[in-house]
Symmetry: C2
Subunit: 191 residues, 2 copies
């Protein structure tokens, strides 16, 4: 019994199945045929949405990155320190609640592929641009600031992945480590 879904719903369903599978196993051990089977669609239909496994994987990464970006959308009405704390709390909640998707987004043990690499880099670039916009309203932003912010995003991802394996550490402690590191690295006047 196949469920009748709109194109957009079907696409989302396939991406959700992909997120589960890629998050639970190495890339090499996921078969696109399996995705079709779980979704109860033909392989032909799956290939209609995503031409190759790499395309599919890149789309899964983009979807998860979009979700995280929406969840951590800052409220410009708040003071910077509060925006930062709220954004980090949302980020860490996402990491804990969507552990597999989060690990997938940072999984670099995938084949060297332009498009997959681009999907990973776009996600970081968008977070970086948003942060730099917020900083620009408070201080001059030069190339060194951009380097500091881009590095900090990697810091936050690394710290969060590590924290997932050490849940005994308080979320607030991790959040404060990250917040302090950004203020110091970017040399914010309020730090």
């Amino acid at each position: 019994m196949r469920t009748r879904l709109s194109t957009e719903e079907r696409r989302r369903q396939l991406l959700a199945i992909g997120a589960e599978l890629f998050a639970s196993r190495p890339y090499e051990q996921v078969w696109i045929e399996e995705v079709a089977e779980i979704a109860q669609v033909s392989r032909g239909l799956l290939y209609h949405y995503f031409a190759t496994k790499k395309d599919f994987y890149a789309a899964v990464v983009r979807t998860e990155a979009d979700r995280l970006l929406r969840l951590t959308e800052p409220d410009p009405a708040l003071p910077l320190a509060e925006q930062l704390a709220a954004g980090l709390d949302a980020y860490l909640d996402y990491a804990r609640e969507h552990r597999l998707g989060f690990q997938l987004m940072h999984n670099t043990a995938i084949p060297a592929d332009e498009d997959i690499r681009a999907a990973h880099e776009e996600a970081v670039a968008r977070q970086c641009a948003r942060l730099l916009d917020a900083l620009r309203q408070r201080m001059p932003v030069d190339e060194a600031t951009r380097i500091a912010v881009a590095g900090w995003l990697r810091f936050v991802a690394t710290v969060s992945l590590d924290w997932l394996d050490h849940p005994e550490v308080d979320r607030a402690q991790i959040r404060d480590i990250c917040a302090r590191a950004l203020l110091a690295a970017a040399n914010l006047p309020s730090a």
Copy 2:
């Protein structure tokens, strides 16, 4: 005309050639036969030193990591802030002067392989352990501190790789960004 080298010299020569090759091209485009050719040894001899290409690659990563660890050895006679600045200066000099080897050490676009992954992780773990030892003499070190320091090491690597593409940014600026980030992330009393 083959040069007669001792086992240890030969091993070092092969690793140096490997560092050059792996640093200048994707892993997939390096052929172990080429290494033998450049070194003017038989493939058999090469395989005697390194059984597989993966083994060889992991050994190259370990060699570069050792070198960087020696170069950034801190002088415990100095105050912490100076040890940190000196270590970061040495690290950034290494990154600039051994650009290819440095990029190679942080290249994650390699096949999913236990031993290669382990070589990368060992390098970070050793730097992390050394830093935590230094901190332990000044403050209590808990799991959150360890997470902060491990994340900071990734931060420094990310910032350094980024800086290599933006040499117009002053080394001292990058060093200070990194030093401030560690003091803040680890919440050091002197920060």
